[in-house]
C-alpha cells in the first residue's frame, strides 16, 4: 500500500548506496552517500516522521557528511588514493563477503516477511510527541547522550591535536 513515492525513493537510496560502495574515489562515494541519505530522508517523511526527515537532511547529510568531505579534502588524498583503492578492490575480494552478506540478507528478509502483525496504515507521530518522550521517560538517556557528545568533542580535540611527539613512550625506537 506504499505509493510510488516510496518505491522511487527507496530505489534511489539503494542505487546510491550501491554506487557508494563501488566507488574508488572517496569524494564520489561521499557525494553518492549524501544522495542516499536524502533519499532515506524522503522515506522517513513518508513514514510519518517529518521531524526526523528534517534531522536526517540537516544533521546527517548536512553536518556529518560535510564533516567527512572537509576531512577528506584536508587529507588531500587525490588520484593516488583512488588508484590504491582500485588495486585493493579486486573482483574476487567481493565474492565471499557478498555471499555471506547475502545469506544474512536472506535471513533478514525471511524474518521480516514472517511479520504476522495485522496490516496497519502508517501512523504519523508529530514532533511534539517525540519531544515529550525525549524529555519525559528518556530524560536520563538524553543527558547521557549529551555527555557522549561532550566526550566526543573532547576526544576529537585531544586526538586531533598535532603533537611534536606522537609516539607513545613504549613505541619509541
Amino acid at each position: 500500500m506504499m505509493g510510488p513515492a516510496f518505491y522511487i525513493a527507496a530505489a534511489i537510496a539503494v542505487i546510491a548506496t550501491v554506487m557508494v560502495i563501488t566507488r574508488y574515489n572517496i569524494m564520489h562515494a561521499l557525494l553518492y552517500l549524501v544522495v542516499s541519505l536524502l533519499a532515506v530522508a524522503v522515506v522517513l517523511y513518508l513514514y510519518g516522521a517529518p521531524f526526523i526527515a528534517a534531522l536526517e537532511v540537516i544533521v546527517y547529510a548536512g553536518a556529518i557528511m560535510v564533516l567527512l568531505i572537509f576531512f577528506v579534502m584536508m587529507l588531500n588524498l587525490g588520484k593516488e588514493s583512488a588508484m590504491q583503492e582500485q588495486r585493493w578492490l579486486k573482483p574476487r575480494i567481493w565474492i565471499f563477503p557478498s555471499l555471506l552478506c547475502l545469506v544474512l540478507l536472506g535471513e533478514l528478509v525471511f524474518l521480516i516477511s514472517q511479520n504476522h502483525q495485522p496490516p496497519s496504515e502508517i501512523k504519523v507521530v508529530d514532533p511534539k510527541a517525540v519531544g515529550m518522550a525525549l524529555f519525559g521517560p528518556y530524560m536520563a538517556a538524553v543527558e547521557l547522550t549529551g555527555i557522549l557528545l561532550m566526550a566526543g568533542i573532547v576526544g576529537a580535540y585531544h586526538l586531533g591535536r598535532q603533537k611534536e611527539k606522537t609516539l607513545h613512550r613504549f613505541l619509541e625506537n
Partner: protein
C-alpha cells in the same frame, strides 16, 4: 635361665658389631661374634636341661608387648617346647661351630665385622623364628632371616652376579611369604588371634577335617614354607645363593634357614592334619622336589651347587615326611641333615680355600693325600648323606622317612618309590662329588691348609653326624625312640597302617641297597670309567639331558620368560608413565587451542568484522531454525 636371652644375646652382639665396625680389632670381632653364639648355645643347653625336667609343659615368656590394635594383639613372647628346643639346640650348636669355622675362613676379608654382624643377626632372627609364640613374631624372624640371607649372599657386593643372586633369593622367598601373609590374615579372620597355641587349640573346634577354609590356610602357609625351604616351584633361588661365602651356605642355606619351612609346617601341624589335601600336596611337593633336585645334583660341576641341590633334595625328604604325617621323622631328618650338611659345606669350603677359591670339581682331584683331614670328615659327611647303613645318622633318619612314606596313613607307593629313587640318586651324586674331589689326579695345587679353627668344628660335626642317628632307631633294629618321645608332647606320633616287620625290613634293605648301588655307579662313572659308560654319556640325548638337568630343569628359564622378562620389559616401556601422557596430552591440546585462537587475533579489522558477521549469521540461523523449522 630366661629363654628370651637366647635370641637376644646374638642380637646384642650384632648391634655391638655394627656400632664398632671400624674400631674393633679382628680378634675382638671374632671373640664377640663367636662368643655370643657360644653363650647363646650355653644358655640354650641349660634351658633345655631345665626344660627336660618337665617337658610336658612349655615355657612361655612374655618379653614385651608389641602390637595391640583393636582386637589384634601380638606380643614379643617366646615359647620353648619340645619342638623349639630341638631347633634352638641345633641352631645354636651348629651355628656356633660354623661361626668358629668362619672366624678362620673369613680371616682375610676386609669386612670381617660386617660378616659377623650379619651372621649374629641371622642367628638371632632364626632363634626368634623358632621360639616365637605368635605368628607375627614368627613372621618377624622369618623376614629377618630373609634379610640376613640377602645380606650374606651378596656379601661380596662388588660382583653384580652376587647381588643378583641375593636379590633373587629375597624376592623368590618373598613370593612365598606373600602367600604366608595372606594365610595369616585368614587365620586372624577366623580365629581372631595369631597366637600359635590358641590357633592350634581352636582350629579343631572351628573346622571339620577337609573344610575348604582350613585347606586354603594350610596351603597358603605351605606356600610360605615352600619359598623359604626352596621346594618346588620356588626352589630356583637356592643354587644361586651359593654365591655367598661358604660358612653362610653352611649355616643359612643348609642347616637352618632353609628348614624354617619344615619348622612352620610342623609347628602348624594341627591345621595340616585338618586339611588332608594340603598334607598330600606337601608330600607330593617333597617327593617331586627330592627327585628333580637329585637329578640336578647329579650333573653339577660346581661343588657348592651339588650341595645346594642336595639340600633341596634332602628338604624334599623332610617335606615328604611332613606330608605323610610323620612329623617327628621330618624333624629328625632336619637334625641329622643339619649336622652332615653343615659338615659337608664346611669341608667343601676348606677344599675351596685350599685350592685358592676354586669351586669347579673338574679342577679338583687327588686331594685324598693332600688334605687327609678334610678327606676324612668329607667321607663321614658323604656317607651320612648317602645313608650308608648302620653307621651313619643319615641312614636312620632317611630310612625312617622312606619306610613311613609307604606305611603311614598318608603314605603311598608312589611316594615310596620316589623316595627310593631319591636314595639311589643321593648315593650317586654324593659319591660322584666325593670321587671327583678326592680321587684321580691332582689338577690344582694346594696353597692353603685349613687351620685349627676350621678343622675342629669339622671333627665335632663329623662325630655328631655319626652318633646323632642312634637316638632314634627303627624297631627292627633296637627300637630306640628317644627323639620321637621327646617330641611327643608337641607333635603327635605317626599312625602306621600295614605295619609289618617283614615289609619294614624289605624297605630298609632296598633303600640301603640302592644307596650302595648309587655309590657303586658313581665309582664306576668317575673312577673306573668303563668304555661303555662314557660312550653312553656322550650320546647326544644324554648330553642334552645332562645340560637340561644342570640348568635345574629350566625352571629359571621358564620363570624368566613368563614373569621376570615381561615385568621388566613392561615397566621399562612404561618408564615415562603412561598416565602422565594423559595430562601432558591435555596440556598439549590446550596449547594447540591457544595457538589456534591466538592466530585469529591478527589485528586485521576486516577479519574481526567478518567474525562478527559470521556470528550474526550463525545466531540468526539458530534463531530461525529454532522458531520456524
Amino acid at each position: 635361665m630366661l629363654p628370651a636371652l637366647i635370641p637376644i644375646i646374638p642380637f646384642i652382639s650384632a648391634f655391638l658389631l655394627m656400632l664398632g665396625w671400624k674400631r674393633l680389632s679382628r680378634i675382638a670381632v671374632a671373640v664377640l661374634g663367636c662368643g655370643s653364639i657360644g653363650l647363646a648355645a650355653m644358655v640354650a643347653v641349660i634351658t633345655a636341661i631345665q626344660f627336660a625336667g618337665n617337658s610336658e609343659q612349655a615355657i612361655v615368656q612374655h618379653a614385651a608387648s608389641w602390637v595391640l590394635a583393636g582386637t589384634f594383639q601380638a606380643g614379643i613372647d617366646f615359647r620353648l617346647d619340645a619342638l623349639s628346643v630341638v631347633f634352638v639346640l641345633v641352631i645354636t650348636v651348629v651355628g656356633f661351630l660354623i661361626h668358629v669355622y668362619a672366624a678362620g675362613y673369613m680371616h682375610d676379608d676386609p669386612d670381617y665385622a660386617r660378616f659377623f654382624a650379619c651372621m649374629n643377626l641371622f642367628v638371632g632372627a632364626m632363634l626368634t623364628l623358632v621360639m616365637a609364640d605368635n605368628l607375627l613374631l614368627l613372621y618377624f624372624g622369618w623376614e629377618g632371616v630373609g634379610l640376613c640371607s640377602y645380606l650374606l649372599i651378596g656379601f661380596w657386593y662388588k660382583d653384580p652376579a652376587n647381588g643378583y643372586a641375593a636379590r633373587k633369593a629375597f624376592i623368590v622367598t618373598r613370593v612365598g611369604d606373600t602367600a604366608m601373609a595372606i594365610g595369616l590374615f585368614m587365620l586372624f579372620q577366623y580365629t581372631g588371634t595369631l597366637n600359635i597355641p590358641d590357633i592350634l587349640g581352636k582350629s579343631p573346634q572351628l573346622w571339620t577335617t577337609g573344610a575348604p577354609v582350613v585347606t586354603t590356610i594350610a596351603l597358603l602357609l605351605l606356600g610360605g614354607a615352600v619359598g623359604k625351604s626352596a621346594q618346588l616351584p620356588l626352589q630356583t633361588w637356592l643354587p644361586d645363593a651359593m654365591a655367598g661365602p661358604t660358612p653362610v651356605s653352611a649355616l643359612i642355606h643348609a642347616a637352618t634357614m632353609v628348614t624354617a619351612g619344615v619348622y612352620l609346617v610342623a609347628r602348624m601341624h594341627v591345621l595340616f592334619e585338618l586339611a588332608p589335601l594340603a598334607e598330600t600336596t606337601t608330600a607330593v611337593i617333597g617327593a617331586i622336589t627330592l627327585v628333580l633336585a637329585g637329578f640336578s645334583a647329579l650333573v653339577q660341576t660346581d661343588i657348592k651347587r651339588v650341595l645346594a641341590y642336595s639340600t633341596i633334595s634332602q628338604i624334599g625328604y623332610m617335606f615328604l615326611a611332613l606330608g605323610c604325617g610323620a612329623w617327628s621323622a621330618a624333624i629328625f631328618h632336619f637334625v641329622t641333615h643339619a649336622f652332615f650338611k653343615a659338615l659337608l659345606f664346611m669341608a667343601a669350603g676348606a677344599v675351596i680355600v685350599a685350592l685358592h677359591h676354586e669351586q669347579r670339581m673338574t679342577k679338583m682331584g687327588g686331594l685324598r693325600k693332600l688334605l687327609p683331614g678334610v678327606y676324612g670328615v668329607f667321607l663321614v659327611g658323604c656317607a651320612s648323606l648317602a645313608a650308608i647303613p648302620f653307621v651313619t645318622a643319615g641312614f636312620y633318619s632317611k630310612d625312617q622317612i622312606i619306610w613311613l612314606s609307604l606305611s603311614a596313613t598318608h603314605g603311598h607307593v608312589a611316594l615310596w618309590l620316589a623316595a627310593l629313587l631319591g636314595a639311589l640318586l643321593t648315593g650317586m651324586y654324593t659319591f660322584r662329588m666325593f670321587f671327583l674331589v678326592f680321587y684321580g689326579e691332582a689338577k690344582t695345587a694346594v696353597h692353603h691348609r685349613p687351620g685349627k679353627s676350621m678343622m675342629i668344628p669339622l671333627y665335632i660335626l663329623a662325630v655328631l653326624s655319626t652318633i646323632a642317628g642312634f637316638i632314634e632307631l627303627p624297631h627292627t633294629m633296637g627300637h630306640v625312640t628317644l627323639f620321637s618321645n621327646w617330641l611327643h608332647p608337641v607333635l603327635p606320633a605317626v599312625t602306621v597302617i600295614n605295619d609289618s616287620n617283614a615289609m619294614e625290613w624289605t624297605s630298609q634293605a632296598m633303600s640301603a641297597l640302592l644307596a650302595i648301588g648309587g655309590i657303586g655307579l658313581a665309582y664306576a662313572w668317575v673312577v673306573l670309567r668303563p668304555k661303555g659308560m662314557s660312550d653312553f654319556l656322550e650320546m647326544p640325548a644324554i648330553d642334552w639331558l645332562r645340560k637340561y638337568w644342570a640348568r635345574g630343569w629350566d625352571f629359571d628359564y621358564v620363570y624368566n620368560i613368563l614373569l621376570v622378562h615381561p615385568y621388566i620389559h613392561l615397566s621399562r616401556m612404561n618408564r615415562k608413565d603412561l598416565v602422565d601422557k594423559l595430562y601432558t596430552g591435555l596440556a598439549a591440546l590446550m596449547e594447540w587451542c591457544h595457538n589456534v585462537l591466538a592466530r585469529t587475533q591478527s589485528g586485521l579489522l576486516r577479519w574481526y568484522i567478518m567474525a562478527v558477521v559470521l556470528g550474526a549469521v550463525a545466531v540468526l540461523s539458530v534463531l530461525i531454525w529454532r522458531i520456524y523449522i
